[in-house]
């Protein structure tokens, strides 16, 4: 347990610092308190800087976030500029253009419960700030718990020319005087999208532009729970990440991400499969059903009802996967004995060890006389 996690909620004193306004100088702080070098934010002046408060979910190694990045950059690159590549090096992003490479420092793992977050008035919240080469705040985006940014708003805010409206706490003042400034803003916008998940899938399609040169992103059409979703994804995006991050169906869980736990189980063309070991691109033309697609309106699926009735879970993390597996197991008739059920459910691990109740729930659903 991290006691700091609850800090914002229990903080009765007023926040020490207000959020710096766009146009004001950003407060200074020591970048890495554990190092002796004592480098501060102001030492980075001379280059624009992006600051990201989101220690928990910002992981640049994750393909879906790189995909957002590509999408937003391609969508907003001014005509005439051709983005040829994007790489992450330590704390910088290197963006390749036809003839040159531009690097932008990104402070991407600032603790959102730490002292820097307090100074920037965003304690406990996810936020992105863009500072220009003089250390002046030029752009910011903050999200409270449960709030989702709209992709369209961010893209609009990124346009090099001043735009009239933007999301309430997003400000764009046409400050981007050169390409570098523009890229910084675009990158920040992309990070904001990635850090603040839950953006509606429809909005994710960038305006028509030539495909990303590296060939690493591709249009992918997925049929999920009877609905078609048109996405533009990095080739590395797994079905699980596409469902959770791009489509916003977070019922399928990521337990191990390596095919070992079953938390990500979905139905593909009627069979239980692991969405973490499948690329989204592989699933074009298949019919995918997730846990969200089982119930008919308010009527729970018989297996869902049985898990409720028999307490087939404790924390519930493995439950969507357990239910998806149980449904196909019953349909396929491999539930004749307890040992057959246990063997058939062995690909779904339960960290809470709710196994006896899961078994009881599967038997109850089997015997319910309802169509599973």
């Amino acid at each position: 347990m991290n006691p700091q996690k609850d800090a914002p909620a229990n903080h009765h004193a007023p926040l020490a610092t207000e959020m710096p306004n766009v146009g004001s100088t950003a407060p200074n702080f020591i970048l890495d308190e554990s190092s002796d070098a004592g480098e501060t934010l102001h030492d980075l002046r001379g280059k624009p800087v992006i600051m990201v408060f989101s220690a928990t979910d910002w992981n640049p190694a994750h393909a879906e976030q790189m995909a957002h990045l590509y999408n937003a950059l391609v969508a907003t690159t001014p005509d005439g500029d051709k983005l040829t590549g994007i790489r992450r090096k330590e704390n910088e992003y290197a963006l390749g253009f036809d003839a040159e490479e531009v690097t932008i420092p990104v402070l991407h793992d600032l603790d959102r419960n730490g002292s820097a977050a307090e100074r920037f008035g965003v304690l406990g919240r996810k936020a992105v700030f863009v500072l220009d080469a003089e250390g002046v705040v030029r752009w910011s985006h903050v999200s409270s718990e449960g709030e989702s940014p709209r992709v369209a708003d961010i893209v609009a805010a990124l346009q090099p020319a001043p735009v009239a409206t933007a999301a309430s706490n997003t400000a764009a003042n046409g400050w981007q005087t050169n390409r570098r400034d523009f890229i910084v803003a675009a990158l920040a916008g992309a990070i904001a999208l990635a850090v603040l998940p839950g953006a509606p899938a429809e909005a994710q399609n960038p305006p028509a532009k030539p495909a990303v040169p590296s060939g690493a992103t591709l249009p992918v059409q997925l049929n999920v729970n009877g609905k078609t979703h048109k996405l533009n994804l990095d080739s590395r995006v797994t079905l699980l990440d596409a469902l959770r991050e791009n489509i916003g169906l977070t019922g399928s869980k990521k337990g191990c991400d390596h095919g070992q736990c079953g938390a990500c189980t979905v139905h593909i063309d009627g069979e239980s499969r692991l969405s973490c070991l499948s690329l989204a691109a592989q699933q074009e033309g298949t019919k995918i059903v997730t846990i969200e697609g089982l119930a008919k309106g308010d009527d729970l699926h018989p297996v869902q009802q049985a898990f409720l009735d028999y307490d087939g879970y404790q924390c519930g993390y493995c439950t969507p996967g357990q239910i998806m597996s149980a449904v196909t197991l019953i349909r396929e008739g491999h539930v004749k004995s307890d040992r057959e059920i246990r063997e058939g459910m062995s690909g779904n691990l339960c960290r809470c060890a709710a196994y006896p109740h899961i078994l009881a729930a599967v038997k109850a659903a089997r015997d319910s006389g309802k169509r599973v």
Partner: protein, 351 residues
């Protein structure tokens, strides 16, 4: 994961051509081995050629009375196929004792043959591994080598091949059908398909880059086959040792026998001499014990895996007893209940 280009092939030609055009390409079938290892940065192909749409999933009779398993047929489809359940029971038992329903639904016949080792040092990019990066050494030699090989290993590599299905295919004398990239086909007997580490531990099989498996063919077989797997958990774990048997009887004497051992070598290990000892004799516990001694005569234990030798012998004796009917199967033939030594998940619980 390293960036890669994704290509989808619709036909065999398409797949071969795309492979040829892309530097450093890899085929992708079910993805359960390939993507897992790409996520670990162990494999870093520049392009994936998705072959799932290539029409290679049929399971059909061959002219000479055998059964052709299309390379894209799922492990589930093969295990429950009516002909497999009837004539190649040991294959069904091997498949169903492996992985989980979800994984077997995704896993293909071709992919199962080419799944990579589960040696933990291979999967850990901070460790030396000649299979992952030739020339770097083998961290398992001086490391924890409990799950490693007792046959055919050398100082370059002591990894084992992890597949259950392949052990049964070796005992059943299957043949791997391959399409060559520049046209033409070739047939590879199963026992020659996987290789020992030798000087090139990075190569698991004799397949050349760009060659596509189109099917695995089972010859006609009228005998009894059986698979027995020992693992650390009751279910959902790789084998510590496994045994596949194919026996053909002539009245009450053994006419022909094939024995394949799993998780003891870099490939399914054929105990050819031990099998020969059985021919022309009546099934008998002492005979089987002698054959097991013979099978493990040349086994060479490492620091932590000496247990595999007695365990392997006992498993072999028991598998032979069960196949020949001297001992009852522990569960219905053709299911995981028959092949899981020690029972399956929850067997010790009421119910």
């Amino acid at each position: 994961m390293h960036p890669f280009r994704y290509n989808r092939a619709q036909t065999v030609e398409d797949a071969l051509q795309s492979f040829g055009k892309e530097p450093n390409a890899a085929f992708l079938a079910g993805g359960t081995s390939q993507l897992d290892l790409m996520k670990e940065d162990v494999l870093r192909p520049g392009a994936l050629i998705d072959i799932k749409r290539v029409p290679l999933s049929a399971i059909m009779a061959t002219k000479d009375g055998g059964l052709r398993l299309g390379a894209n047929a799922s492990n589930t489809a093969v295990a429950y196929h009516e002909q497999v359940q009837k004539r190649y029971v040991g294959l069904a038992e091997a498949i169903l004792a492996g992985a989980s329903p979800q994984i077997r639904n995704m896993a293909s016949t071709g992919g199962n043959l080419l799944q990579r080792t589960r040696c933990p040092y291979y999967r850990d990019t901070t460790q030396a591994c000649n299979k992952r990066e030739p020339g770097t050494g083998c961290a398992a030699l001086e490391g924890i080598n409990r799950v490693h090989a007792v046959f055919g290993a050398n100082e370059k590599c002591i990894a084992t091949h992890p597949s259950d299905m392949c052990v049964a295919l070796a005992a059943l004398n299957a043949v791997v059908q391959v399409q060559k990239p520049k046209g033409g086909t070739r047939s590879i007997p199963f026992a020659d398909f996987h290789r020992l580490p030798g000087d090139e531990p990075q190569r698991d099989t004799v397949l050349e880059p760009g060659e596509l498996i189109t099917s695995v063919d089972l010859p006609a077989f009228t005998g009894r086959s059986h698979y027995l797997k020992v693992r650390e958990r009751a279910s959902y774990a790789y084998a510590l040792v496994s045994v596949a048997i194919a026996l053909e009887m002539d009245g009450d004497t053994i006419k022909a026998a094939r024995i394949a051992l799993g998780s003891v070598a870099h490939k399914p290990w054929m105990a050819t001499d031990a099998a020969k000892e059985l021919v022309g004799k009546k099934p008998d516990a002492a005979l089987f014990r002698a054959a097991a001694e013979k099978a493990f005569e040349d086994a060479k234990p490492l620091q932590h895996n000496a247990y595999k030798i007695p365990l392997g012998k006992n498993t072999l004796v028991r598998a032979l007893m069960e196949t020949s009917g001297l001992m009852p199967l522990q569960g219905t033939a053709g299911t995981a209940f028959a092949s899981s030594a020690g029972g399956v998940a929850g067997d010790d619980i009421e119910g």
